[in-house]
């Protein structure tokens, strides 16, 4: 996704009461994170599960949170999603990069990229794939869900090879 749209997504979520952006960086969403760093709104953690724990504490303080991660980190987080986020019904938005979407992405991303939609489905974690046309309606959808107390995921496709 283009840098300018990534920045727009960040600013739109910030304007709409997402107060905390916590996670582990992913080059797929570099511009989203850079925009947050510029505004001093990003907390980078050592692992993704840690970010989810912090977001859970913030969310229970009635402060809306987003947790960002690559899909490798999403794979790390499955037990935390089931036994903390879903068990206690703690709302938060996950922003997950989709490595392995392109067939010629690096080999370590191939398997997780292939099974990512199935994992989301198996978790019953509602998700939408962001693109340059739907980013605003998808963000609104996610904001509405967390305001009604439900976690959800926005997926950012890795559409380039470096």
């Amino acid at each position: 996704m283009k840098a300018i749209i990534q920045k727009k997504v960040f600013n739109y979520l910030l304007k709409n009461e997402v107060k905390n952006f916590i996670g582990v960086p992913d080059s797929t969403m570099k511009h989203f994170i850079d925009e947050g760093l510029k505004k001093n709104k990003i907390l980078i953690t050592t692992r993704e599960e840690e970010a989810i724990g912090i977001a859970a504490g913030m969310s229970m303080s009635k402060s809306n949170s987003l947790v960002f991660m690559q899909n490798a980190g999403f794979a790390n987080s499955i037990s935390t999603i089931t036994s903390l986020v879903q068990l206690y019904e703690i709302p938060m938005i996950f922003l997950i990069g989709w490595r392995g979407f392109l067939k010629n992405d690096a080999p370590e991303h191939a398997k997780i990229g292939k099974i990512q939609p199935k994992i989301l489905q198996a978790l019953s974690l509602q998700s939408k794939v962001l693109n340059e046309k739907n980013w605003k309606t998808s963000s609104d959808w996610a904001l509405k869900l967390i305001k009604s107390g439900k976690p959800c995921a926005l997926i950012l496709i890795r559409d380039f090879i470096d």
Binding site: E50, I52, G57, M60, Y88
Partner: protein, 186 residues
């Protein structure tokens, strides 16, 4: 001192201040000995009590948060101690009940006899304390009242033969009553 005694001393001393209790026997002991709405009992997600506590502490700077953790939990999520040191919450008290074992899963050893959690926390910018007796623990609890930086208290406990009952409150109920206690105590 066994864990249940230490938990009893601390939870009575701190009144209605919030506690995030790690899953397993730590939550069970706290639930049995001093159940309160301001206790957040973890059921799963081992290792994350300190992360949840950090999120709470950063968003509620006027309240103090106590984390009841175990040596196994801390070793599983050491990165969380680094993040706590880096964010420097002034209102977080991290209590580690150290019996050098995974008691909740059958008493298998942890590496805390060989690795000093207290020194790690000190390096990570916590103000640190160590207790082995009830007297030492009570003294430390008096001392920390006015300290405004992340605090870690390592309590050496002995293994216990008694097991507390399971936390039988539904997870969503645990969350709801904890959140109510947060907004009521402001």
């Amino acid at each position: 001192m066994i864990r249940k005694e230490a938990i009893g001393i601390i939870s009575k001393k701190i009144g209605n201040q919030s506690i995030v209790a790690a899953n397993g026997f730590i939550s069970r002991d706290l639930f049995e000995i001093n159940d309160k709405n301001s206790n957040f009992y973890m059921i799963g997600s081992m290792g994350l009590a300190s992360s949840i506590g950090l999120g709470l502490a950063l968003k509620n700077p006027k309240k103090r948060f106590f984390i009841f953790d175990g040596d196994g939990n801390v070793l599983m999520n050491l990165g969380s101690l680094a993040t706590i040191g880096a964010t420097e919450p002034k209102n977080l008290v991290h209590i580690v009940f150290d019996n050098s074992s995974h008691e909740s899963t059958g008493g298998q050893p942890t590496i805390s006899k060989k690795i000093d959690i207290h020194s790690i926390a000190k390096t990570l910018k916590y103000k640190t304390y160590k207790a082995t007796t009830k007297n030492e623990l009570e003294n430390i609890l008096r001392k920390i009242k006015k300290i405004k930086c992340p605090i870690l208290i390592l309590i050496k406990i002995s293994k216990s033969k008694t097991t507390s009952k399971r936390v039988d409150i539904d997870a969503i109920k645990i969350k709801q009553r904890f959140m109510e206690s947060l907004s009521n105590s402001s």
